[in-house]
């Protein structure tokens, strides 16, 4: 009789330590193909030209949460170049790239459940993303499930545009933005 009680107590403590209550809130990011933890490449290859002025890319990710409180934060590195020749001020910089983020709710997700935080509520520049920058305040869950194939989610679309300016030094520029979904 005594041994099972000790065993259950041990398991209970183990579960508390390994699964704190907040961690039971599920948070998920997928791409439009429902791939978890996606890598979404944003690629530009252009020549400066008189017209059209801009070259744009857009990509989307899906956010699912079964808790009402969540946050999307982002951290940026670059863009920087190792082979661009010329004055470094003429390199492509983060503030040369405009950033438009929009959010749509699908399925049971509340259309007011994900709120873009300023300055991302309107067009801004990629330079607005620094380290751990707060992008979206999630106030409502998407549904009761975070399954990758659950049709209830918040779709976050990012559009990056770059002016085809003649000032830019020819070369390859690389950078990265990491988005992380967290509990408040």
């Amino acid at each position: 009789m005594t041994f099972p009680r000790i065993l259950f107590l041990f398991i209970f403590i183990f579960l508390i330590l390994v699964f704190p209550i907040n961690s039971l809130a599920c948070l998920s990011i997928t791409d439009d193909l429902n791939t978890p933890n996606p890598i979404i490449n944003a690629s530009f290859s252009f020549q400066p030209d008189i017209n059209p002025f801009t070259d744009c890319w857009s990509g989307a990710m899906r956010i699912r949460s079964d808790k009402n409180g969540w946050r999307l934060v982002a951290t940026r590195v670059g863009p920087s170049s190792s082979n661009a020749e010329g004055n470094s001020q003429d390199n492509v910089m983060a503030n040369d790239i405009t950033l438009n983020i929009s959010v749509q709710a699908f399925g049971q997700a509340d259309s007011n459940g994900a709120i873009l935080v300023s300055p991302f509520s309107s067009q801004t520049e990629l330079s607005s993303i620094q380290s751990g920058t707060f992008i979206i305040s999630g106030v409502k869950k998407s549904s009761n499930s975070c399954s990758s194939f659950n049709p209830s989610y918040y779709k976050v679309t990012k559009k990056l545009c770059l002016f085809r300016d003649f000032i830019f030094n020819p070369g390859a520029y690389n950078g990265q933005v990491s988005y992380i979904l967290i509990n408040p």
Binding site: F8, L27, N37, D49, I50, C146, N174, S178, I180
Partner: protein, 200 residues
């Protein structure tokens, strides 16, 4: 027996905790950003400085009637250069003339003045005229056999970001003129000059 049931129950609980998909975490997305800026060379018509005015054909028509004290007939072809390359050249080559007169006109009779200017967001020193185009010369200096250098470019044309391409131009003005000499006979004399922007 009771111990075995407890173990089984515990294992089931753990199994559920570890395997239920909704409790797994996939909470990051990574967006690598790769930008390739390629070198470019553009020429546009100074009077139609848009994508529609790229690679222009600019006609210069000089009509003369020999007369005493008459001024030379003059025409212009002005075009704008934009490049983000730091090493470039503007070359010119001419087609053999077609003379329906014969008019007695030769390439040497047509004076050529090449000048440069730059917009406020452009480098006026991006390109320099190459002799003999540094002063008034004549069309005979533009060969029909091979391209000749007219401008030597040693820097990109822009000095600042200009996302409307309004003031980032390096402009080449070419002026052609001919005196209304009584030596010239009625008819039409024609040649075509092709200016090319190249990067070595």
């Amino acid at each position: 027996m009771r111990l075995n049931k407890s173990f089984i129950f515990t294992l089931i609980v753990l199994l559920i905790l570890f395997t239920v998909p909704i409790k797994t975490f996939s909470q990051s997305a990574t967006v690598p950003i790769n930008i390739n800026v390629n070198g470019t060379l553009t020429i546009s018509d100074a009077s139609n400085d848009s994508s529609a005015g790229k690679n222009p054909t600019i006609n210069v028509n000089l009509s003369i009637t020999p007369d005493l004290g008459a001024a030379p007939a003059t025409g212009n072809a002005n075009f704008r250069i934009r490049t983000n390359r730091s090493n470039w050249r503007l070359t010119a080559q001419r087609t053999s003339e077609v003379d329906t007169g014969p008019t007695n006109i030769v390439a040497m009779d047509i004076a050529l003045l090449v000048t440069t200017q730059a917009g406020t967001n452009a480098n006026a020193m991006a390109g320099t005229l190459v002799a003999p185009f540094t002063a008034t010369t004549d069309l005979s200096n533009i060969s029909t056999a091979a391209p000749v250098d007219v401008v030597s470019g040693t820097a990109k044309t822009s000095t600042a970001r200009d996302n409307t391409n309004t003031n980032n131009y390096f402009q080449i003005n070419t002026q052609y003129s001919i005196l209304p000499d009584f030596f010239f006979q009625p008819g039409t004399w024609r040649t075509t000059i092709t200016y090319n922007l190249v990067s070595p």
